[in-house]
């Protein structure tokens, strides 16, 4: 994790001009490359073009190992532009010309689609479409699975005839379903006794007065708000009609409560990056905080016993989306499809599996994982041996069991998906009031 850039917070959103200029240059190069590609009649799947593919996204998926591997596999030039989720979204929505592929989470879909920054993706060009599991297709991996509130990915996947995004299946989709996971909070078991997944572990702990002054929250309204809302609801402080669509009034109530907590010094910090969240826990600044799974792995690697809770209320789910820029055409578009297909080709899924993420077509990645890895990461079984992370360090000790169980179990317990609600703009104001209190 240390290889990651220190921050994934948005840094700039003003590089439009530069990026445009860059893009035109690269287009030229790509054209030249395409000509070469044709003459040698390369195999179609991983057409070896020296086309440059610009990928805009977050650190979660824009990892150097992946880029190198992709470039190697695809024979194309790939440029990663990693930013914080908010700025990625803003840049993408305003400047579709500045990227070819957009990698983020499902909660950005309405904005992107609404702003016309992305173009539909043809299902037929996705080779392993059929292998993509039912989570995005039906919203449930199993028949009994909860359907999480908010922007569940299946609700946004298909492009409807009216041009809107909906559940009804069509030939085109707004994004390629690939990386996804469920988030919750982590807690230091040295201080807080380890709870039972789905039974005692609760979002309510975040607002437990016992942990006052030792609580950390991710500084993002579209994410942290849900952690806090789930917590408030779990504690019975507030109730929401639809936690995926919180009203202004409900927000007012919630934030009044939160501001009181904040003023009482309940919150120790609001992190803006995964490394920061690690530092919070490692420095004992917090004992319980909103967390992403890589941070948990890292802390465990540092021998800080952090349990990634499996709240009985269900997880906050997130689903990665890979979108094609509305302005990307020709070779770049081909390359973009190649890249999308590469992602579902198995190895990348296995790679991110070792970081705790799931891929939408797990069976193809299974071949790239050994059975211990598969059993641990997907099956929810105890690790048959110590497992290494992508950085080569041991991230899972032998015998360890993934908190929350198997892929199916975990994804069947999503309370709410990360969502940009209608009250998003209002929540920004309230969030400011909250964290400044």
């Amino acid at each position: 994790m240390k290889k990651q850039p220190p921050s994934d917070t948005p840094s700039t959103i003003d590089s439009t001009t530069v990026d445009l200029h860059k893009r035109k240059t690269l287009e030229g190069i790509a054209t030249l490359g395409a000509g070469v590609g044709l003459s040698i009649k390369a195999p179609y799947v991983f057409a070896r073009t020296k086309t440059k593919l610009r990928v805009l996204g977050t650190h979660v998926t824009l990892q150097e190992e992946l880029r190198q591997r992709a470039m190697e596999d695809l024979g194309i030039e790939i440029e990663y532009e990693a930013k914080g989720s908010a700025s990625v979204l803003q840049k993408a929505s305003m400047q579709p010309g500045s990227f070819d592929l957009y990698e983020q989470w499902s909660n950005s879909m309405r904005v992107l689609w609404g702003s016309g920054a992305i173009q539909p993706i043809e299902k037929k060009r996705i080779h392993h479409w059929s292998e993509i599991n039912s989570l995005t297709k039906t919203g449930q991996l199993t028949p009994n699975a909860k359907i999480g509130a908010g922007d569940a990915p299946n609700k946004l996947l298909h492009i409807q005839d009216n041009g809107q995004l909906g559940e009804a299946h069509s030939d085109t989709i707004s994004f390629l379903p690939y990386v996804h996971n469920v988030d919750s909070f982590g807690y230091n078991t040295k201080v807080i006794p380890k709870g039972k997944p789905y039974e005692t572990e609760s979002w309510g702990w975040l607002l437990n007065k016992k942990y006052s002054g030792k609580v950390g929250i991710v500084n993002a309204p579209s994410i942290g708000l849900f952690d806090l809302a789930l917590s408030a609801q779990a504690n019975g402080f507030v109730t929401f009609d639809d936690i995926g669509q919180i009203t202004k009034r409900e927000l007012d109530t919630l934030f009044n409560l939160l501001i009181d907590f904040k003023k009482s010094g309940h919150f120790s910090g609001f992190w803006t990056s995964v490394p920061e969240s690690i530092e919070f826990m490692a420095s004992n600044r917090v004992i319980i905080e909103s967390m992403f799974s890589p941070a948990v792995s890292a802390l465990n690697g540092q021998n800080i016993p952090v349990a990634y809770a499996a709240p009985k209320e269900g997880y906050r789910g997130w689903h990665g989306v890979m979108c094609l820029s509305s302005e990307t055409q020709g070779k770049e578009k081909d390359a973009a499809y190649d890249y999308m297909n590469w992602w579902l080709s198995g190895w990348p899924g296995a790679f991110i599996a070792r970081q705790g993420y799931y891929i939408s077509n797990p069976q193809r990645s299974k071949a790239h994982l050994d059975s211990a890895e598969w059993d641990y990461w997907y099956q929810g079984k105890p690790a048959a041996k110590a497992l290494k992370g992508t950085d080569g360090n041991i991230s899972v000790q032998q015998g360890e069991v993934r908190r929350g169980g198997s892929y199916t179990t975990r994804l069947s317990n999503v309370a709410v998906w990360n969502t940009v609600m209608n009250t998003y703009d209002y929540s920004l104001q309230k969030w400011y009031e909250f964290i400044s209190a």
């Binding site: 959103i13 908010a86 700025s87 803003q90 305003m94 609404g114 209608n422 703009d425 209002y426």
Partner: protein, 1035 residues
Amino acid sequence: MFRTLQTQIIIVLSCLILIWVFEIFLSYSHQELLAKNQLLIQSSASELELIYKFERDVIDLQRHVLIYKNTETGASADHFKKNITSINDKLERLRAFNDDNNETTNYIDIIERVSNHLNDYNSNFQSVIQGKKRRDSIFKQLIIDTLPENKINPVPQKKNDGSIIENINSLTKSAKISLLQYSISPHYEHIESFNIHISDALKLTSKKPFLKETKKRIQDIKQEFNKFTQITRGYVFLINVVMTGSANEILYLTQKIGKTIEKKKIEIHKNTLKTAKKIQRQTNTMSLLSLSLILFCAAILIYRTIIPIRKITAIFKKLSKDEPIDEIPGINRKDEIGNLAISANIFHKKNVQTSELLEKAQKMNTRLEKLTIEAQQASLAKGDFLASMSHEIRTPMNGVMGMLGLLTRSSLTDKQQSYTHMAKSSAEALLTVINDILDFSKIEAGKLDLEILDFDILNQLSEFMSINAYVAQEKNIELILDATQITTSTVRGDPGRIRQILNNLVGNAVKFTSEGEIIVKASLTDNINNHLLTVSVIDTGIGISNEKISSLFDSFTQADTSTTRQYGGTGLGLAITKQLCELMNGSIAATSTFGKGSNFTFSITLEKSNSKQLCIPEISLVNTPTLIVDDNTANREVLRRQLQLWGAPVTEAACSSEAIELLSADSNLFSVVIIDMHMPNENGEELGKYIRKNTDNDHLHLILMPSVNDDFEVNHFSELGFDAHFPKPVTPKELHAALTFSLDHKTALQKKTSLTTNNQIKKTKTSQKRILIVDDNRVNLEVALGMLEDTGYNADTANDGEEAIAALRKTPTEAPYHIILMDCQMPILDGYSTTKQIRSGAIPGINKDIPIIAMTANAMQGDKDKCIAAGMNDYLAKPVTIEELEEKIKYWYDKTTHNHNKETNISSDDPAPTLVDNMVLTSECTWNKLEALQRFRQNETRLNKIIALFRLESRKDIENIASCNNPIDYIRLSEANHSLKGAASNISAHPLIELCKKLEVLIYEKNTSEIKDIQQQLLQAYEALLIELPSPIID
């Protein structure tokens, strides 16, 4: 090597120095540490201050962001810029603050994070500004350009179209309202409202082809609005969430830094305290350690060194006091103490040895003392032996000599006379031998002491020459005295010993000379402090070979053993002479030409006398041309020089005929003729007769120089016509006297008087001097009596001290004894005791001051001292010669009558009737000149001298007599009276004498009143006498 105290002390000292150095080091490092902590505290304080400022700046930054968000003024952006610069600056400074502790990494990490947040914050703010600008421009575009109806819709072409356009317009208006509402309050409902209206408008446009343009525009508007909302959301998100989060995080981290620093500060403070405590502890420990070590060292020093040294010292003290000691501590130690102990042991052993040695030494000393006493006793015994030996020898010798002397004077046959003479010679030789041996013994024993007194050297020499003249002239040897080099007569020295030297030398010369002459050449050199008397005895004798000369002065050596046989003698003479010379700080040397003669020259040192006198009174003979007639050249020479000294023109004649020749030529050329008696052919007597035959020679004064052996009647020479005569050898004094006499008494010839200076003893019948001889030895008594009778003294005898005292007491006062001759060793009461009794004054009726002359055979110096100590006045060693006896008696008689004339040569007051006849006999008025003159053998000069002396000396006495009253000082009065009486006696001042005698009695009776009376009478008589006495004449 660690056993010696030195090493131990050095080690101990080194330890102490090390501790000291360590303490210094400790103190130094403590100071360093404290200073460092102080610095740290200061630095953390400034860090804290910086942090607070930094925090304030961050808050300011946020404030400016908010102001910008609300007012969108450029000023806020400028403030922001300044602020960020200031913050970055502070951050850099904070970054510089890091120390070496573990938290550094953490600190740097935090700073790094703050820095990142700040960078993000700054760039986000720039994004906000840009976003805001874009939003504004989009907004303007939308409101001003896009939304007005005329810009969206075309001119209606159909009737229906109009309503559609109206609907579109209405919808766009509603959208515009939503836009405006959104711009004020960016909420979702406005977006939704806008989107509904726009979507509806789009729907309408899509139905009519002519509204294609409108549709396009509306789509653009929709697009622009979307951008507008996105931008709005973006910068709101940035400001509200991201930047606020960053700012909060920055503040949090800043506080954390502050806390860290505060904690550090506290830590430092704690550390400082801890350090201080540690230092205190270390210092205490060190002090304790030092103290312990010092105490330890002190203890070691005391136990190992001081106490043992004290013990050893005590031992040494004991040893030095020689007290017994039991055992020596520390003897087994290997250090200095051990060495000391060993030394002490040695000392102790030595002490023991020393005591043993001491014991031995004491024993030895006792023995030595005993031996010393024995030796002393032996020495005393030897001395006594010497004394008694000399006494025992001299007593019979005295008898022998005396009797022989008397015998020669009695009428004997020639044969008897000859035998007696031989016996006497033998006795004298024996006496010489004995004296030599005794003298030598004394010198050897260091017992010979010199008798230092004033004496007349010239007289001494003259006397000596006269005495020796007999022997010499008997051998027909001329004995010549050359004393022209003596100008000072009175010197201090031992005349007896000088005479002894002369005796030896001249005796030898006489002995070894058969013909020719013996010249005694004397000179007296004046040095600053003393005189050097050099006397050469030059003879024309047999001489001494060169090889013998060197050993001449050794004991028992004579030039030749054969000479001993030929000439006799002990061989001690010259050895004694040499030693005597050396005793008198002088030396003796001899030169000789074998067969021709010898020259013995000795030099001795004599002290200067306080009463210096010219030996010969000055006499001017300038007008007295003198003719010397003598066959002996040397004699002539001496005479001539002497006379020339006095200024006389001298002519010499070697024989009578020569003299007659000279006189015949012109007798008037001469005034005085001095004629030697013994000359070949015509002797002096005949020459005199011859001269006197011629009346032309009447003016001539004739002085004859007979031999001492010439025994003539007193008037024999005057009858022959000589004016005066004196015996050879010529002495300056006699020559002077003769010349003076003959020249002064011009009528001498007519009066047929002659002066004789002959020292030959003449009998005198009358003598008032009564002498008591005390001796137990009859022979001695007889000898002394005989001698005294010969010299004209009346003497009584006593056999011991008691008899002597009885005799003295029986003596009538009008005829008292004048002198006692006292033997020393006598039975019943010896000489010493008798003298002491007399001197004590315990015996009434006798003159306790009577001169007592010892006459003893004890010839040692100690004997004389013993005599003087006992109160005797003088001393005569037996055997006594008549000359010595007479001399002493004369001397002491004169002394008691206060005649200080030391002339002892004159044997008797030889009456000269012719002279006396011519004297004016003065009555008994003040003084009897005739009687006085008689006392001085008619020598008026001498009398005058005495009178002059009287005038001088008596003045003192008379003054004393006159001034010793109130109360009367009897002693002084008595002394002065006695002195005056004596002085008056010399000049026969009888009235004064009588008064003195009266006063004497009165003093004895202590009759005060009459004393004063007599004093007056005395003064008157004295004054009268002074008038009568002739005026003093200076000669």
